[in-house]
C-alpha cells in the first residue's frame, strides 16, 4: 500500500508508472543510465514489484540482466567476492563459497523459498532492506564490504550504510566482498525464524584468540550487530544487544536470551567441528 498525504491507496502491477527501459551490457553503461534522476536498478525483480506497490516511482528502469560480470564469484584464499547478481540457488552451491565458508553456503541454501531462490539475487536481497530478508544479517556478521560504483566512482560501504540510506545516488552494487577468511568460521541459526535469527562469524587471530561478530535479525526491524572476544560467554555477548531489538512481537529481554542460546549452539557446533578436525589430523 502507499500512503499519500491524504489517505491510503493500493498500487498494483497495473499502476506501475511508465518508464524508459535501459538494458546495458556493461557496468559503465549501467551506471551511466543509473545516474539519471528517477532511475532504479532491476535484477531478479522479486522485491521490485513490492516496492512499486509501496509507491516506488521511476522514470528509467535499468535492467541488469545483460550486464557482464555481475554474477561472478571468486575466492583467492583471503577474500570471497560474490557478484551482486549471483542468484541464491547458484551462489549457495558455488565451489568458491562452499570452500571459503561452508556455513554460509549451508545457510544461503535455506533462505526464502525454493522458487524465490531460483530467481532472486544476493544484491537484491541486501539492497531491499527488509527485515525478513536474511542476506544482510549474514553479510553484516561476516563484516562484508559492499563494493559499489556510482557516477562519482567506486566506493565501499557496509550493510549498515545501506540500512542507513548512505548509498550514493545512482550507486550500483557490484559485489559483496567478505575479507579475512583465512581463519574464519561462519554459522547461521534460523530455527526461530521469523522471530529471530543469529549469524555468527568467528575470526581466529594468530595469538590463539579471536573475535566473534554476531548479527541478530528480527521480524519487524533491522538487524543488530555486536562483537566480542572469542571465549566470551554467548549469553554475555547477547546481553550487549541494544533495547531496540525488542518490538511488538517479542521483548528485548527474550530476544537477548534466545540470541544467546542460539549463539551458544553455533559456537558449540564450531567447537565440535574443530574437535573432529583435530581428531582427523
Amino acid at each position: 500500500m502507499r500512503m499519500l498525504s491524504h489517505g491510503l491507496v493500493a498500487p498494483t502491477q497495473r499502476t506501475i508508472p511508465d518508464f524508459d527501459l535501459r538494458r546495458p551490457l556493461t557496468v559503465n553503461e549501467a551506471v551511466a543510465a543509473g545516474a539519471a534522476g528517477g532511475s532504479a536498478y532491476a535484477q531478479g525483480c522479486t522485491d521490485l514489484f513490492a516496492q512499486f506497490r509501496e509507491g516506488l516511482r521511476c522514470t528509467t528502469l535499468v535492467s541488469l540482466d545483460k550486464v557482464a560480470g555481475l554474477r561472478d564469484i571468486s575466492y583467492d584464499g583471503r577474500t570471497l567476492r560474490i557478484g551482486s547478481g549471483a542468484i541464491h540457488h547458484e551462489g549457495a552451491r558455488h565451489p568458491a563459497v562452499v570452500s571459503a565458508l561452508p556455513g554460509l553456503a549451508a545457510a544461503w541454501r535455506q533462505i526464502a523459498t525454493h522458487r524465490i531462490r531460483q530467481r532472486a539475487t544476493i544484491g537484491g536481497n541486501v539492497m531491499a532492506r527488509r527485515p525478513r530478508y536474511e542476506m544482510s544479517i549474514m553479510c553484516d556478521s561476516l563484516g562484508a564490504e559492499l563494493s559499489f560504483i556510482s557516477p562519482n566512482g567506486p566506493c565501499r560501504l557496509s550493510t549498515a550504510d545501506v540500512w542507513d540510506s548512505r548509498v550514493p545516488p545512482g550507486g550500483l552494487l557490484l559485489s559483496v566482498d567478505i575479507p579475512e577468511l583465512a581463519c574464519a568460521w561462519f554459522g547461521y541459526e534460523r530455527s526461530l525464524r521469523p522471530l529471530l535469527t543469529v549469524a555468527a562469524t568467528v575470526r581466529a587471530d594468530t595469538a590463539g584468540g579471536g573475535t566473534v561478530r554476531v548479527s541478530v535479525g528480527s521480524e519487524m526491524h533491522r538487524h543488530f550487530t555486536v562483537e566480542a572476544p572469542l571465549g566470551t560467554d554467548p549469553m554475555d555477548i547477547a546481553a550487549t544487544l541494544p533495547g531496540e531489538i525488542g518490538d511488538a512481537v517479542a521483548s528485548a529481554r527474550y530476544r537477548r536470551h534466545a540470541a544467546g542460546v542460539l549463539l551458544g549452539r553455533l559456537l558449540d557446533r564450531l567447537a565440535s567441528e574443530h574437535a573432529s578436525e583435530e581428531k582427523s589430523r
Partner: protein, 762 residues
C-alpha cells in the same frame, strides 16, 4: 430419506470440478471481463479515527479516462449503512472514518493507473480523534465512542433461555446471552475455578481477492461477485441502493476461497454505484493488502467460571466472551450468538450462563471466520477443562469422558440431541496419538481437546431444483457456492444416487439469483446436511414426475415402474425414455423439473428458535516437544478428526478436515494479525505468515469419522470446521503436559512459553 446406499458412498471418485481447476479453465469472478469494463480503485483513511471535515474530488473528476467518482456527495438515496443485525457500515465514509483503511472515495477509470492518479487528486481534511485500539480501550471509562448515535439494529426473536441486547453499553454493539438451569447449584460445588483466556486474530487470506464486476444498465443491476451468500447479499443491496430485489441479479462463478469472509456487502456496493454513474461495467478488485483492511477473524477475551464437584463432575459454568468486532459490526452479532452459545462444549451442566459482547474498536471489521465463535469458545473451554483436571489430579481424558453428553442427549433444554458419540471419537484420536500408552520423556507431552459446534445454520431454509432433459442429462440448480469445500461434487453425487445415473451426467447449474432457487448462504458447514436434503428431495420429486409420465404413456401405474439409467423397467420390459418423450412432445422433446425444500421446524423451545440440524463435533490430539532454553514448541504429532456422519465423497471430507486443522495449527503457533496500539504491522503477504508445506507437523493425521447419525442424505452431516476448532487447545494442553506450564494466550509463542517456564528474571 432414500434407502439406497449411494454409489459414491464412502468411495473416492475425483471431484467434479477437477478438470476445470487442474487445467486452469475454472472461471472465478477475478477472471470476468466485460466489454467496455472500467477499473475501480479506492482511497482509504490514514487515520484510525477521525471526523471527515471535507472530501473534495473535483480535480479527480477532470482526469481524462475517469468515468465515475464516488464520495459521500454521491450517496443520495443510498441507505446510511449496511450490515447484518446492525446497519452501521457506510458504502463510503460519511461523517467519520473509524479504522485505517476505511473507504473514503472510489474512482472508476479506463485502467487502474488512471484511477490511482485520480485518487491522488482528491483532497481530504480530517479532524483526528483518539483511536480505540483494543477491547480494554473500548470499554474503559470515558472511552472515545465510535458511533455517537446508535446505528439502527434489530434483535431477532430468540427461544427459551436466549436473549440479546443492542448497545448494552458504549462501544458494544450487541450482547448475546444464554442461561439455563437454576443458579443455586453454585452452592453445591466443591470447587469453583475462574480463568481468563486471550484468543488471537487471523485474516482469512483467501487466495482469490474480494472482487466484483458490476454492470448497471438503466434500472437493471447485474453483478458477478466472489460471495458465499448471493441471496442475502441481493436483499441487502436492494435495501442499501433503494431498489427492488428483482432489479438486481447476482452471478457467482467459482469462488477462490472464502472461509467466511465473503458474506454480505464487500466490494459490491461501490462497484454498482460506480457502474451506475459511469454507465459502463466496473471491476472492483482488492489487493491482498486491502483484504487485511476489509475483514478479519475476531480476537477475544474469554473469562470462564466453572463449578465442579470433588470427583470432577461438572455442575455450573458461567462465561463472558468479549469479541473485538473492529470498526463495523458486520457479522459480529451472529458470531456473538454462537461464541456464547457454544461455551458449554459437549458436556453436561446443570446451570449455564453465557454472555458474549461485540466490542467496537478502531481496527479492521471482524466477521464470520471458519468456526464462527467456536474457536474462541473452545480455546477457553478446552484449556480450562485440562487445567481443572490437573488441579483435581485427574487425567484430562477421564475428566472429559466423565462429563460428556451421551449420544442423543440434547445440548441444552429444547435443543436437538448431540449426534456424535463424543467418547468414541476421543478414543479414536487418543489411540492414533498413542495417548494412553505413552512413555514419559522430558519436555514431551500430549494433549487432547474436543469441540462442539451447532452446524447447519440457524432456521435455515434450503431449496433446490433438478431437471432432466430428453436425453437424460440432469441439471441441478441450487444456491450452494463452490468455495472449495466440494459442494458441486457432493450435491451432484446425491442427485446421481437418487436417479441411478452416472455422476458425470449431472450438471451443476451456474448461480444466478434470478433463476437459482433461494438459499440463505454457503456457511455453517451446511452444504450437505441442509442443502443436501433439499437436493435429495428435488431429485426424488423429478424422478416421481418422470415415472408418472412414463406410466401415463405406458398405461400403467407409476408404482409398476422403476427407473433404470434413462429407461423405465416394467417387469422384464425396458422402455427407453428418450423415445417415449419424443413420442409425446415431438422432436423438440421436453425437460422434467422437480423441486425440493428442507428446513428444520421452528421451535420456540429451542434457544435459537430452531433446533440445530446437526452437531459438527471435533476432536484433536497433539504431541509436542518443548525446547526449555528457547520456549520453542515442535509439534511431533497432530491428529485431527471430524464426524461427517456418512462421507459422500471421502476426498472432499478429508481435504476439508486437513485444511481446517492446519488453520487451527497455524493459529496455535504463529499466524496472527499483529497490532501495536491498533496499528496493523503485518498486513501483507510477506509479513503475514500463513502455513507452508514445511510447517506441517512431523506426523499429521486426519480421521474422517462416519458415525452415521446425521440427518443429511444417507446419514451425512457437515464438515469443514470441526477439525479446526479444538486444535489450538490440544496443543496448549500438550505443552502443559510436557513442561507443566499453562499458556492462556494465542499464539503459543516461544517467548510466552519461555516466560511461563522461567518466570520474570530481570
Amino acid at each position: 430419506m432414500a434407502d439406497l446406499a449411494p454409489a459414491g458412498h464412502s468411495a473416492a471418485p475425483p471431484r467434479v470440478d477437477a478438470p476445470a481447476k487442474v487445467t486452469g479453465t475454472a472461471r472465478y469472478t477475478a477472471d470476468v471481463r466485460l466489454p467496455g469494463m472500467l477499473y475501480a480503485k479506492v482511497l482509504r483513511s490514514k487515520h484510525a479515527h477521525a471526523r471527515l471535515i471535507s472530501v473534495d474530488a473535483s480535480r479527480a473528476r477532470t482526469v481524462p479516462g475517469v468515468h465515475a467518482v464516488l464520495t459521500r456527495d454521491e450517496l443520495d438515496g443510498i441507505a446510511p449503512g449496511y450490515g447484518y443485525f446492525v446497519k452501521d457500515q457506510p458504502v463510503v465514509a460519511r461523517d467519520k472514518v473509524r479504522y485505517v483503511g476505511d473507504v473514503i472515495a472510489a474512482v472508476a477509470a479506463v485502467d487502474e493507473a488512471t484511477a490511482l492518479r485520480a485518487l491522488e487528486l482528491i483532497d481530504v481534511a480530517y479532524e483526528p480523534l483518539p483511536a480505540v485500539p483494543d477491547i480494554d480501550a473500548a470499554l474503559a471509562d470515558g472511552a472515545p465512542v465510535l458511533f455517537d448515535k446508535a446505528p439502527p439494529g434489530i434483535v431477532p426473536p430468540y427461544g427459551t433461555g436466549a436473549s440479546a441486547l443492542l448497545r448494552p453499553r458504549p462501544n458494544v454493539c450487541y450482547e448475546f446471552r444464554y442461561e439455563t438451569g437454576p443458579d443455586d447449584v453454585w452452592a453445591e460445588c466443591d470447587h469453583v475455578f475462574t480463568d481468563s483466556f486471550a484468543f488471537s486474530r487471523m485474516n482469512h487470506f483467501h487466495l482469490e481477492p474480494f472482487v466484483t464486476v458490476a454492470d448497471v444498465r438503466g434500472e437493471q443491476i447485474e453483478i458477478w461477485t466472489s460471495t458465499q451468500n448471493p441471496f442475502p447479499l441481493r436483499k441487502e443491496l436492494a435495501r442499501v441502493l433503494g431498489t427492488a430485489e428483482s432489479k438486481i441479479r447476482v452471478n457467482v462463478p467459482f469462488v477462490g476461497g472464502g472461509f467466511g469472509a465473503k458474506n454480505n456487502c464487500k466490494t459490491e456496493p461501490i462497484a454498482i454505484l460506480l457502474s451506475k454513474i459511469a454507465g459502463r461495467p466496473v471491476r472492483y478488485c482488492l489487493t491482498t493488502e486491502e483484504g487485511f483492511l476489509t475483514m478479519t477473524q475476531h480476537s477475544a477475551i474469554v473469562t470462564v467460571k466453572t463449578g465442579v464437584l470433588a470427583d470432577g463432575t461438572f455442575v455450573a459454568r458461567e462465561s463472558k466472551v468479549l469479541l473485538d468486532a473492529g470498526a463495523y459490526s458486520d457479522g459480529s452479532p451472529l458470531v456473538a450468538e454462537k461464541a456464547g452459545y457454544r461455551m458449554p462444549g459437549p458436556y453436561r451442566w446443570r446451570h449455564i450462563k453465557s454472555s458474549c459482547e461485540c466490542v467496537m474498536t478502531t481496527t479492521t471489521p471482524a466477521g464470520p471466520f471458519r468456526g464462527f465463535g467456536a474457536p474462541q469458545a473452545t480455546w477457553a473451554s478446552e484449556s480450562q477443562v485440562d487445567m481443572i483436571a490437573r488441579r483435581l489430579l485427574m487425567d484430562p481424558y477421564e475428566l472429559r469422558v466423565k462429563n460428556f453428553k451421551a449420544l442423543g442427549e440434547p445440548f441444552v433444554p429444547g435443543e436437538s440431541g448431540i449426534d456424535s458419540d463424543m467418547r468414541e471419537g476421543l478414543d479414536l484420536v487418543a489411540a492414533e496419538l498413542g495417548y494412553h500408552s505413552r512413555e514419559r520423556m522430558p519436555n514431551r507431552g500430549m494433549g487432547l481437546a474436543v469441540s462442539l459446534k451447532d452446524g447447519g445454520g440457524v432456521n435455515k431454509p434450503a431449496t433446490a431444483r433438478v431437471k432432466i432433459a430428453t436425453s437424460g442429462d440432469v441439471y441441478l440448480s441450487c444456491g450452494t457456492v463452490e468455495i472449495g469445500q466440494g459442494a458441486h461434487t457432493a450435491l451432484t453425487q446425491v442427485v446421481a444416487d437418487v436417479l441411478g445415473c452416472p455422476r458425470e451426467k449431472v450438471v451443476y447449474a451456474p448461480i444466478n439469483t434470478d433463476i437459482t432457487p433461494f438459499d440463505q448462504g454457503t456457511n455453517a458447514s451446511s452444504g450437505v446436511a441442509v442443502m443436501g436434503q433439499a437436493v435429495q428431495r428435488a431429485a426424488e420429486d423429478v424422478k416421481a414426475k418422470v415415472l408418472e409420465f412414463a406410466a401415463s404413456r405406458l398405461d400403467c401405474k407409476a408404482a409398476d415402474l422403476t427407473l433404470e439409467g434413462w429407461a423405465v423397467l416394467r417387469g422384464e420390459e425396458m422402455t427407453p425414455l428418450t423415445g417415449l418423450i419424443h413420442g409425446s412432445f415431438g422432436g423438440t422433446g421436453f425437460e422434467f423439473t422437480g423441486e425440493g425444500f428442507y428446513k428444520i421446524a421452528t421451535s420456540h423451545e429451542a434457544p435459537l428458535e430452531a433446533q440445530c440440524v446437526f452437531w459438527e463435533n471435533g476432536w484433536a490430539g497433539a504431541e509436542v516437544e518443548v525446547d526449555p532454553d528457547t520456549g520453542k514448541i515442535t509439534v511431533l504429532q497432530l491428529v485431527a478428526s471430524g464426524d461427517v456422519g456418512k462421507a459422500i465423497n471421502t476426498l472432499t471430507c478429508r481435504g476439508q478436515d486437513e485444511g481446517a486443522a492446519m488453520m487451527g495449527y497455524a493459529q496455535a503457533l504463529f499466524e496472527e494479525m499483529r497490532f501495536s496500539d491498533g496499528v496493523l504491522l503485518n498486513g501483507e503477504a510477506l509479513d503475514y505468515r500463513v502455513p507452508l508445506a514445511e510447517d506441517l507437523p512431523r506426523r499429521f493425521v486426519s480421521i474422517t469419522q462416519e458415525q452415521g447419525h446425521g440427518p443429511g442424505p444417507f446419514g451425512a452431516k457437515g464438515a469443514g470446521e470441526g477439525a479446526m476448532v479444538p486444535v489450538a487447545a490440544a496443543i496448549a494442553n500438550a505443552v502443559h503436559d510436557a513442561v507443566g506450564v499453562r499458556i492462556t494466550q494465542l499464539p503459543l509463542t516461544p517467548e510466552r512459553v519461555f516466560t511461563a517456564l522461567h518466570g520474570f528474571e530481570e
